[in-house]
């Protein structure tokens, strides 16, 4: 019924050829950018960040510093028995924040109890389960027949992992956690409380960490394999040279050189949080918020979520395949087209068996 020609490349004259009287050659295709921006501003954005690390490493303070407001409540329970929960809890708190007309729903997911017990084996399990639960919820909504116009996105976009500033190397707990979770979520490792390290110690520590990550095959954000083109790779390589960022968090302002800035005041000086000579908080903020936020969300949506989905749909196929059947691998159907069993890795999942979709190979 219809045929299509190969893509053809006529180009309308660009805007530069406008005559002074009217938009003679101007079509207006680039107005779509403005339309997209308007739509995005109207819809608002969603961001879900998870912070993982032992207690006392400054997770809540860092979140507050990043978003310049009290997004996390600092754990100030006085009772030491109550302080460390028996099992790792997952607490997620959402806020609506707005800046210059851009609305964002920020969800901070805290994990009190991580790494605080004496026996920390399998401490990553509740966290992994939580992340997979979010993927599952999204998947269920997506395969619904009557689905919402905009599926609420509760998937964890980014997981900030706090490394204690020992100055030596990664601990087994760190390696284990990051190894397992880098496959399901974007991990951004940071060195917490970096004001206890001198610059040389910090560089040495970072180098050791990078080597250990490489040796263990841990791919943290920005992942090498998801670089799209040469420009991307250049930018990301620079970032990869700098991770993990050595950060200091603070939500108190002090007077330095006549300006009020965020910092930590000690007897020997004031550490300015946003001064890149002092700590690398500004780089982290720029990475997470100002330049790579959309990229982080895209990688979560199109790669991590898709991996989960593939695994999940294959699992249910395998489960159903265990029913007794004595069919040969290729069965001629009544209308003469061969049918492929679901064990073929590229087969359609849900729709494979239905006759309507049977022509799909």
């Amino acid at each position: 019924m219809s045929e299509s020609a190969k893509p053809h490349h006529p180009s309308p004259q660009g805007k530069g050829e406008k005559t002074h009287a009217s938009d003679f050659s101007y079509v207006g295709i680039d107005a779509i950018l403005e339309q997209m921006r308007r739509k995005a501003m109207k819809q608002g954005f969603e961001l879900n960040i998870m912070v993982v690390g032992q207690s006392g490493l400054g997770k809540s303070t860092l979140m507050n510093t990043l978003f310049k407001s009290k997004v996390s409540r600092k754990s100030v329970q006085p009772n030491p028995e109550e302080r460390i929960p028996k099992t790792i809890e997952i607490k997620s708190i959402s806020h609506d924040i707005e800046e210059k007309g851009v609305r964002m729903k920020l969800t901070v997911i805290d994990t009190p109890g991580f790494g605080d017990h004496i026996n920390n084996e399998n401490c990553w399990q509740p966290i992994m389960k939580f992340i997979n639960d979010q993927y599952e919820a999204y998947l269920q909504e997506e395969i619904n027949i009557n689905r919402k116009k905009r599926i609420p996105d509760s998937r964890v976009h980014c997981c900030i992992y706090f490394i204690p500033p020992t100055g030596h190397c990664l601990r087994p707990l760190d390696v284990e956690f990051m190894r397992r979770l880098s496959k399901v979520v974007n991990i951004v490792p940071v060195i917490a409380k970096a004001d206890t390290l001198t610059l040389e110690e910090r560089d040495f520590f970072k180098q050791t960490i990078r080597e250990e990550l490489r040796a263990n095959g841990i791919d943290v954000y920005p992942q090498k394999e998801f670089d799209e083109d040469a420009d991307d790779r250049m930018i990301n390589d620079k970032i990869r040279e700098m991770i993990p960022f050595a950060v200091v968090g603070s939500d108190q302002e002090y007077q330095v050189n006549g300006k009020r800035i965020l910092g930590r005041k000690t007897k020997w000086g004031t550490i300015e949080v946003e001064n890149i000579g002092h700590c690398e908080f500004a780089y982290l903020r720029d990475l997470l918020i100002r330049t790579h936020m959309q990229n982080i969300k895209d990688i979560t949506g199109s790669i991590h979520y898709e991996t989960y989905r593939v695994r999940r749909l294959n699992e249910s196929n395998a489960h159903f395949k265990s029913q007794p059947s004595d069919h040969p691998a290729v069965q001629p159907k009544a209308n003469g087209q061969p049918e492929v069993t679901p064990s073929a890795p590229q087969a359609n999942g849900v729709a494979a068996k239905h006759e309507v979709m049977s022509h799909e190979m």
Partner: protein, 423 residues
């Protein structure tokens, strides 16, 4: 200053929070836009109208280029669709535009099925998107979206009312695609006639329950202009790729002996309005409506047709896997049944063939016997004949011997007589 709220909030409640300083996520829309620029955009227009009504010319004028077009004949036996894809670029925006034209629409004597190829084409595009979405390993962000985003329906400028073909086609399409009706060749209608014509068309559409695309009113920046434009539907357009000099400029226009119709002059026709509404203001909304309304409707109907449900008869949510599993069992049972049937058929055929062969064998055998008998009979007859012949030969031999004897005797008798005479 930040709101200091110390009480712990339950997980689901979302509280608004003020920011104490510049965080920087206002660059998010820019990040999104940049990503889209890298990916490129996709837009698909379907033009439905009779042959020669000016669809291709309008597309050329709209996008300021020369698409490869050729005139179609009026003698097509059926309505066909011709889709062509083009890559356009304006400043830093790359657009992959697909223009689908109907060929032979309205030319047949019997136009009852004219709308069907169009509906089939639109459904096919939805279907391939649905297939992609349901795959296990899918790549949606790389997928070239071929779903029809806008449908320009060309109304011929009779000045009276819509044709019944128009109404029927639009009614079939209004739940599948965003329909934007346009009055083609608007330079044949005068201003007063045009005004009456537009009112008549809109009232006919309303009274027949045809839902055409309404420009969206929910965004304040464009609500006002969209409301005005909604009232000016359908747009009366003129298309032209030729340039005529008017005053001291070259403008796109059609030159007649009585004057020049300028395409981009708003008092001459609504072309500029159409371009603005279709491309500059609402392109993204057209794409969104196609995805969230028309495609979702198609998907829902298709999945329900296939038997999937969200809740089973006890109103408990049924997962897709369960339905799928049930269907799979059904299917396997049916497959088994078919296999058995085939096996039986095969056995039966073999038997038939065998009996046929046996019959043939028997027949051959009887023929052979018959021939043998014939042969024996002939041999016997021949034997008889030979015996007879032998008998005849022997009797002849005897007679010959007797005759010779007689002759010899008569000779000697004659010889004696001669002797006697000589004496």
């Amino acid at each position: 200053m930040a709101s200091s709220d110390v009480a712990r909030m339950p997980e689901k409640a979302v509280r608004p929070l003020g920011l104490a300083g510049h965080v920087g996520f206002d660059s998010l829309p820019d990040q999104l836009v940049n990503k889209s620029i890298c990916q490129g955009f996709c837009f698909n227009i379907l033009c439905i109208g009779e042959t020669g009504i000016g669809k291709s010319t309008l597309m050329d004028t709209l996008f300021n280029t020369n698409f490869e077009n050729f005139e179609s004949s009026h003698f097509e036996p059926q309505v066909k669709l011709r889709a062509q894809t083009y890559d356009l670029q304006e400043s830093n925006v790359r657009l992959r535009l697909t223009v689908v034209n109907t060929v032979g629409f309205g030319d047949q004597m019997n136009k009852q099925e004219s709308y069907q190829p169009v509906v089939d084409y639109i459904d096919k595009q939805f279907e391939s998107y649905l297939q992609e979405e349901l795959k296990i390993k899918r790549s949606l962000h790389n997928y070239h979206d071929s779903r029809v985003h806008a449908c320009l329906y060309f109304i011929s400028p009779s000045g009276h009312s819509l044709k019944s073909l128009d109404l029927v086609t639009m009614k079939k399409l209004d739940s599948k695609v965003n329909i934007i009706p346009v009055i083609a060749k608007a330079d044949t209608i005068s201003k007063s006639e045009l005004h009456k014509f537009k009112i008549k068309i809109m009232s006919e559409l309303v009274s027949n329950g045809v839902q055409i695309y309404q420009f969206p009113l929910d965004d304040e920046t464009v609500a006002k202009v969209n409301t005005t434009m909604n009232g000016l539907l359908p747009f009366a357009v003129v298309g032209s790729t030729e340039e005529v000099s008017v005053g001291n400029k070259m403008v796109k226009a059609r030159q007649y002996p009585w004057g020049v119709v300028q395409v981009e002059n708003e008092s001459h026709c609504d072309f500029v309005k159409l371009r603005e509404m279709l491309i500059c203001v609402n392109m993204e909304d057209l794409r969104e409506q196609t995805h969230t309304r028309h495609y979702e409707l198609y998907r829902r109907c298709k999945l329900e047709e296939m038997g999937f449900q969200d809740t089973n008869p006890e109103c408990k949510p049924v997962s897709l896997q369960q339905t799928y599993e049930a269907k799979r069992q059904e299917f396997l049972v049916e497959l088994q049944k078919r296999e058995d049937e085939m096996r039986q058929m095969f056995v039966q055929r073999v038997k038939e063939k065998e009996s046929e062969l046996k019959d043939a064998e028997r027949e051959l055998q009887s023929r052979f016997e018959q021939l043998k008998r014939l042969h024996a009979d002939e041999k016997a007859t021949l034997e008889d004949k030979r015996r007879n012949l032998d008998d005849d030969l022997s009797s002849f031999g005897k007679r010959r011997a007797a005759a010779q004897l007689l002759q010899a005797q008569s000779l000697t008798a004659n010889g004696k007589k001669d002797k006697d005479r000589k004496k």
